[in-house]
Symmetry: C2
């Protein structure tokens, strides 16, 4: 029995994609979108830049209007229309018309839930005070800009240093507001591993942003005179004209839960590979839905626009294909990127953090970790900037598990390439041999992504095993610095031996024979050569992956 | 029997990589590099930018010095040392010391040939005249700059509009020299399909560069007064102070041929998957070697730095691993990029041209071709620019065969991602579902690469079949323009019907029932919706892939 009436709750990324694809598939389908807010299909991810006046006009954020949906797609879009209950037996949704203040019933054959996620407000006093905002939609931005203008806000506190927190902080700073970021973890950008966020710390500080790390919000209170006093968990109190809460999002599952739909263990709506909920007539997509990691196979929440759009489109295909047919959603890599303060940070697949979390859930994947530092394009062509790639590969077979990168330019390109490789189950050996674009403005003959894979390959094969800085002290190896005397003088690892690489060949006999020798240089290339020289004398040697650069980054986020 | 002495002929990309990797692998190996020129390991690909003064100092082009090779890698580098003959029986190379003017014999256990490729000079009169140059090495650049300075060159002719020709043209223009490019094919950048070069034509013209397409060099003559007159095959004569020959390269196979080593059908040195020539003690790498296309399996010449570097490194591994062991070179995608006049053009895998050439050699792969045009990043974030992706997929199963892209920014990223997908035998369905980096500065929720794959998927499944502009006239379909009246007025396809997409739903009955209807809009999105509407009435409809934009590009390079 074919579906005649498709009802979609939520008209942003997933819902809008679903409606457009459904119409393209079937002209005879009745399609209704219910959207609680005043807009459909608006550019969520652009909101911080609207606050920063980089995007000048509110209209620019509107990807598609209700009018376009009606005219071009014959979709009945109802904004300011909140779905308040689902009667699954009768296949009816109870709708509140927020403008008219009335309620009515809307029937469906197929129902798609695309409610998204809402900002999480920490359960502390004062988050409801005037001057405290979150950034979910266009009206939020209007409120922030109004408040900042009317109250001539000179200082703001951003609570939460995740992607959105950092973007908002950058954009407030762009408006001339002094910003402090409060982050509960010891580093910004919690989706990344700690050391990979360090370049962003430096850039934020350089832009005048204060960082209060390893601290959470204890409460907000109104000061006499109209300012807010923001208390942090370690006792510090910040005074500001405005507070932005960017402490993450939680899936909007109220409606689904009330309707008795099954939720997953991360608290999102549970769906099968064809995006169907526990009710055979209800599908769900986007931020509210749990998604499978393509690497670990575990479910998690991945509130990203890409997967939401893809799922919306796919849900339309599945519903139109009919029972047991249509494409299957294979899961996500959670590829993500953030740009702020002149730095770009990006990630795909698993991090060390997420692999540790997976291990706690019983999915333990022994992995090797390497760092590559390289210029985004040929050194000899002007304007090259360093980027750092962290690559995680499975010990067993070299399969790539995840990558993170940070730098000023060329970062997202390498992460996208590695995302493609992970998606297709590639190994380090594959990535090493991948032909990538090279001209001096764009890359190098050995692209940074190739280089990361070569380092991983050398580590896995035993050609040049790597060691971890975290283990250096406890392991009892001899630490050998092979940099120049100049570099050594400017700073080195306490207790290290020092033999510049160009003098090492003549001094191999002076190295102890009874201990492992762990070498480092600044980025890891000279120490790689050193490892090879030393290991050919019969000694055991390893390369402290990432070199002194990563050592310093790790030190800067030590507990 | 282990190799004790490794002799490498050629010290640039492949040779230098081979020496460094061999040293890292074996400290006990004697390694000698013979380099005919005055430098080793110099940045070939930077030469045009040195001519353009973007790279200021000659030293910047030197990636590694003979001194570094000696000191750090204990490699005996001999510059100005030409290998003149190989005695394969005695395993000896005859070397000419170009500085001392003497000859000597150098023995080897393993010999690696990395002689590169040399500029091809068209067999016409005058290419040897003073003021006629090619661009292979640093001395060539010195000569060009000296000549241009001494003779106050105001106009130059660049013969050949390939990657190097276009780069040189841009860099001469950057120096204030008026440039004309002469190209035998009907478009610049012959490695690309014709229409994909059109945006570069427009950019070159805007930069003041004259294009003489579909014409070859007939001859060069000295004019009284010191200028050169450059005659073209169609009769035109250009006057210039300087001529740069950039008419491609030919593999340096003289030495190999004289030694009786087997060559391949494209004229390069033939090697097996372990880079071994027909002599068991001689390996060859880089531009002089024939490489297998990973897509068609056919051999061809691929003079690119990436494969050369990788092969050099791999040859070291193979030689050190011993008989029948070591890694295998799987082949190349020939991923390449060029930036000039503010445009970037890039390609990976096969083009329509190379697929046509493969078909002539008996490897016929039926394919579907689609174009995606999209912004490099979100429209609502300032600075977004259009890029065009051309994607070729195998009809049988959607496997990606090749991609080309052109635009102002974000071009090489998409090509690199697609290169990764091709390398791992991905299909359009894979690329459609790949999670890529998205934040408004970097991409879109549906990345242009995803979009290209969606279009291909729709075409392959029959959801929205595509048609080719080249076939439109002969096929006899009704051509339907679904753009706005404003767009229609500014230009349209002769004989087309015009119904704006937003009025189509009401006017479907007016369409003929006995003919296929081929629709177009500007980029292909509205016409995609039109195809779906029309085909649901029972009519046959197809999308003229690429839309009016591609139509115009194709018209501009019509024979």
């Amino acid at each position: 029995m074919s579906v005649r009436k498709l009802l979609i709750i939520g008209g942003v990324a997933g819902g809008a994609s679903c409606a457009a694809r459904a119409r393209r598939t079937r002209e005879d389908l009745s399609i209704v979108i219910l959207e609680k807010g005043p807009f459909v299909s608006f550019a969520n991810c652009g909101l911080p830049y609207y606050v920063g006046n980089l995007i000048k006009k509110e209209e620019d954020l509107l990807v598609a209007s209700p009018e376009l949906f009606r005219k071009r797609f014959a979709v009945d879009v109802r904004v300011l229309s909140e779905a308040v209950a689902i009667d699954r037996d009768k296949k009816i949704v109870r709708v509140r018309d927020l403008a008219a203040g009335r309620e009515y019933d809307e029937p469906y054959d197929a129902l798609v839930l695309s409610p998204g996620a809402r900002p999480f407000a920490p359960p502390v006093p004062g988050t409801g005070l005037p001057g405290v905002f979150s950034v979910r939609n266009i009206p939020d931005c209007r409120d922030i800009l109004d408040w900042a203008g009317k109250n001539r806000v000179g200082e703001a506190v951003v609570v939460g240093g995740g992607y959105i927190g950092v973007e908002i902080a950058e954009n407030l700073a762009r408006r001339g507001i002094r910003v402090a970021i409060v982050e509960r973890e010891k580093h910004l950008l919690p989706p990344l591993d700690p050391e990979m966020a360090v370049p962003v710390h430096a850039a934020a500080k350089k832009a005048g942003v204060e960082l209060h790390l390893s601290q959470s919000l204890a409460g907000i209170a109104a000061e006499p005179g109209g300012k807010l006093s923001v208390s942090l968990s370690l006792g510090r109190v910040l005074s500001a004209g405005m507070v932005i809460l960017a402490t993450g999002v939680v899936p909007e599952t109220g409606l689904a839960r009330a309707a008795g739909l099954a939720l997953g263990e991360s608290g999102g709506i549970a769906v099968d590979s064809r995006l169907r909920t526990s009710d055979p007539h209800i599908w769900a997509v986007g931020d509210a839905v749990e998604k499978t990691s393509l690497v670990t196979g575990l479910s998690r929440l991945v509130p990203l626009a890409g997967p939401a759009n893809r799922q919306g489109r796919m849900a339309a295909d599945i519903i139109c294909a009919g029972e047991g047919k249509g494409p299957e959603y294979r899961g996500t890599l959670g590829t993500s990127v953030v740009g702020a303060f002149g730095m770009t940070a990006a990630a795909t697949g698993e991090t060390e953090k997420s692999l540790a979390a997976a291990a706690k859930k019983g999915v333990s994947i022994p992995y090797e970790r390497v760092y590559a530092q390289a210029l985004d394009h040929a050194e000899y062509y002007p304007g090259a900037k360093t980027l750092i790639i962290k690559l995680l590969v499975r010990k067993e077979d070299g399969r790539i598990l995840g990558a993170q990168a940070v730098g000023e330019q060329g970062v997202e390109k390498r992460v996208d390439v590695i995302a493609a490789m992970i998606f297709k189950h590639a190994t380090a050996a594959d990535l090493e041999n991948l032909d990538l674009c090279y001209a001096p403005q764009f890359g190098s003959a050995k692209d940074p992504a190739n280089l990361a894979a070569m380092i991983a390959g050398n580590a896995l094969s035993g050609f040049a095993p790597v060691a971890r800085w975290e283990e250096a002290e406890a392991y009892g190896a001899v630490i050998l610095d092979v940099r120049t005397p100049f570099e050594w003088k400017r700073g080195h690892v306490p207790g290290a031996l020092h033999i510049p690489v160009d003098e090492l060949r003549q001094n191999l006999d002076s190295l102890p024979e009874d201990k492992e020798i762990w070498t480092y240089c600044y980025v890891g290339a000279r120490s790689h050569l050193a490892v090879r020289m030393i290991s050919q004398t019969g000694r055991k040697a390893r390369n402290l992956t990432g070199g002194y650069a990563i050592y310093q980054m790790m030190k800067s986020v030590e507990d």
